[in-house]
């Protein structure tokens, strides 16, 4: 049974079969036939104000739901504008399908209007990409794209479709299966390795669980929690893994790494067994490699064989999907645990961990005299959201303070650009997350730098009635760069001052919603409550201490046990 359909309609039919309900996009010349077909199609199209933000919004949609996010752009500049969003999705393994238009097949290579080699440009920006010049290949390619994006280690897939394919007609027969003989996905884990891993976990005296974004991606939080409780190990969650073990869980020891907590880093330095789950030993976590966990053996579970022993040799590698592997490890743990006795080393280890936590807690009383301290802002957001809001962060100091100080009881609540660190990510990601979660409180925390990269999307928020609360932590600087210039470049502040921030009342007002500036700590709680309870979008500009720095800090290339805990104390002079 087949029927004659246009390529544009075939594409939309395939999207419907993949369960797509939303496309974030921006139309253009060669996608005209596609947009014409969308005119009376039930799939919702969210018109953003820049293609980069379509890719970020598709990520926000995906990161908050686990479903594949879809974005769409025209040829040439439309496609090149997507690239940052695609690389960002690649670095954080986020399933996104990007659809781009291409000039008519016979014009390719002729420097046609708005022609760019999208297939070539996005080769390294995607997990896989396609150029479709033949309408008969289109259905197969679309279903392959979704399968590749979502399975194995997820990632972005781009499908570049020529205008004549959209316009052409073909007899469409629904695809029922796809065949990618070279695409290997290892899910189950090696039974023998799983057993040995469980033994090692129970033998270790100072185990640490190091949980990352892979737990989020495989929806393995419940299985992680069970493992944590069976091994009773202190657990750190990476920037990408925050929320996989709820922030209030007694075994949770915050985030490790460059701006991780003292206890997390001291734990990672002194452990004798790292149980690495869906992580990639990022340089922001390990610091100087030869000083990272020098006494530890490593169990590394990951779905991507190329991650195993990439940075740190794994003593016991397991290649598999955490959702499949963790229950098997847990089953062996339950079987072996009665024989393991009461593990006296572990008690001493916990005592030590608690001492470290008490010595340098992340959450400290913050002065409420004078300026609003950025830490106070994050603590107030934490107090009001109670670990339940979706918080989308931009990149910089505010991202680190938010990661340190805001609780997340569940995965998929903390959404940030971890690997690529793309400024401008926060607001469009929140837009996408709010589209996917219309009834949930979605907050975009931005710096005054990143916010100004995405300002146009305020229009999209208003257009689509998306009640995102945009909180700008405004210190008048590109704060993280300023911090490094202060600490490592003799405080020679070069091109980091951001003068002229638009008045938020007028700015938000111009777009049709409310905005406000707060400068005094005493106003902050009320201002946040007002913003959170407003039915529409809200722009809250929070003026904070301009020169506050993020601590603890492991300087780049430093050892994780040699953290800088705070600013140098003033020395009394005689």
């Amino acid at each position: 049974m087949s029927q004659l359909m246009s390529g544009a309609k075939i594409l939309l039919e395939c999207l419907a079969r993949e369960g797509v309900d939303t496309i974030f996009g921006y139309p253009g010349g060669v996608t005209l036939p596609l947009y014409d077909a969308m005119f009376d199609n039930p799939i919702r199209h969210v018109l953003v104000r820049h293609e980069q933000n379509a890719a970020f919004a598709a990520q926000g949609y995906s990161r908050s739901t686990g479903k594949v996010g879809v974005c769409c752009a025209t040829s040439g500049p439309g496609a090149t504008n997507l690239v940052t969003g695609l690389v960002d999705a690649m670095m954080d393994s986020i399933p996104v399908v990007a659809l781009t238009g291409q000039v008519t097949a016979k014009l390719i290579g002729s420097d046609a209007f708005q022609e760019a080699d999208t297939f070539g440009i996005t080769r390294s920006a995607t997990k896989h990409n396609y150029l479709v010049k033949n309408i008969n290949e289109l259905p197969q390619v679309i279903h392959e794209a979704f399968y590749i994006a979502a399975s194995g280690r997820p990632g972005p897939v781009l499908v570049d479709v020529t205008k004549d394919v959209f316009q052409g007609n073909a007899h469409y027969t629904p695809v029922t299966s796809i065949h990618l003989p070279g695409y290997k996905v290892y899910t189950e884990g090696h039974t023998g390795q799983i057993r040995r891993a469980a033994q090692m976990m129970l033998e270790a005296e100072r185990p640490m669980i190091y949980a990352g974004g892979g737990i989020v991606l495989s929806n393995a939080s419940p299985e992680l929690r069970e493992l944590v409780e069976l091994v009773d190990a202190p657990t750190v969650c990476t920037l990408m893994g925050l929320g996989t073990l709820g922030s209030e869980h007694p075994n949770f020891i915050s985030m490790p790494g460059m701006h991780g907590s003292y206890a997390a880093n001291m734990g990672m330095y002194n452990t004798d067994l790292i149980i690495a789950l869906g992580v990639r030993f990022d340089d922001r976590v390990t610091g100087r490699l030869n000083a990272f966990a020098p006494h530890a053996r490593i169990i590394h579970v990951d779905i991507d064989p190329a991650e195993i022993s990439k940075i740190r040799n794994a003593d016991l590698p397991i290649v598999g999907d955490l959702k499949r592997v963790l229950p098997k490890i847990n089953a062996v743990l339950k079987e072996l645990k009665p024989e393991a006795g009461d593990r006296p080393g572990l008690k001493a280890w916990w005592k030590q961990i608690r001492e470290w936590k008490e010595e340098h807690p992340l959450k400290k009383p913050v002065s409420t005299d004078g300026d609003i301290k950025p830490q106070y802002l994050m603590q107030e957001i934490d107090r009001l959201t109670k670990g339940q809001a979706i918080v989308c962060s931009d990149v910089g100091q505010h991202q680190m303070w938010a990661a340190q100080l805001i609780r997340f009881n569940e995965p998929r609540l903390w959404i940030n650009s971890g690997g690529l660190g793309s400024m401008g990510f926060g607001l469009p990601a929140a837009l996408g997350a709010q589209v996917a979660n219309p009834d949930q409180l979605v907050i975009a925390i931005c710096g005054d730098g990143g916010f100004q990269m995405s300002i146009p999307e305020l229009a999209t928020l208003f257009n689509f009635g998306l009640p995102v609360k945009v909180i700008v932590m405004n210190n008048g600087y590109l704060g993280m760069v300023r911090q490094w210039q202060e600490l490592f470049y003799a405080n020679r502040l070069s091109q980091v001052t951001l003068d002229c921030f638009p008045d938020p009342v007028q700015l938000a007002g111009a777009y049709g919603f409310k905005g406000r500036t707060v400068e005094r700590p005493s106003e902050l709680a009320e201002a946040l409550e007002t913003a959170f309870s407003d039915p529409g979008p809200y722009l809250l500009n929070v003026r904070v201490t301009p020169t506050e720095n993020v601590f603890p800090m492991v300087p780049a290339g430093g050892a994780i046990n040699e953290m800088v805990m705070g600013p140098p104390q003033p020395v009394a002079t005689v």
Binding site: G19, F146, I148, S177, H179, L180, A306
Partner: protein, 183 residues
């Protein structure tokens, strides 16, 4: 030292670019690359000779294996394998050196594929170092022009080719399998 990697890839647009892209992204210059169809016209066999730092090699081959279009990437550097190259060469040969050239060619098992008053066109195959020597010797006779074919290799041990089976997709049945976490 040169390493030799052999890949079985789908004979599709972009497959070559994906493989070489992994090398260029890491700043490696490819010494030689050959690619041609296999018995199955839907597949191609690729042989790459490249100098990679040893600690990066394993990682790189894992990345090659991750490419959707790559069915198998194998490191032949330290594995039992036959590695050969073809050389075509034009040698200027005046009367007095013709006999000498032919003798050397015979020693190296090269064939004369064309002969003119000016000289010979020679064809030689062999392992890469042997051909280097042959080229050096021929150069001693005067001006030569050489085209090297690049290393081609075949592994001497059969490695099991693991291929993924078709997966249901695009239908209700596929959706329910997805929900159950099959993929």
């Amino acid at each position: 030292m040169l390493q030799v990697i052999t890949l079985l890839v789908e004979n599709k647009t972009g497959a070559l670019m994906r493989v070489t892209g992994l090398l260029t992204a890491r700043g490696y210059n490819i010494d030689s690359l050959t690619v041609a169809r296999t018995l199955d016209p839907e597949l191609s066999r690729m042989t790459i000779a490249v100098a990679i730092e040893p600690h990066q090699r394993r990682q790189l081959i894992k990345h090659m294996n991750k490419l959707i279009n790559v069915l198998q990437a194998t490191d032949l550097t330290d594995a039992p394998a036959v590695i050969r190259e073809l050389v075509l060469m034009r040698v200027r040969a005046p009367q007095e050196s013709r006999t000498g050239i032919l003798k050397e060619a015979e020693i190296f098992g090269a064939r004369v594929v064309d002969s003119t008053v000016e000289g010979f066109a020679l064809e030689a195959t062999g392992d890469i170092e042997k051909l280097d020597e042959f080229i050096d010797i021929m150069r001693s006779y005067g001006e030569i022009e050489v085209t090297r074919g690049g290393a081609v290799a075949v592994s001497l041990e059969s490695k099991k080719l693991r291929l993924s089976p078709p997966v249901p997709r695009g239908s209700e049945e596929a959706k329910s399998e997805e929900k159950n976490g099959v993929i």
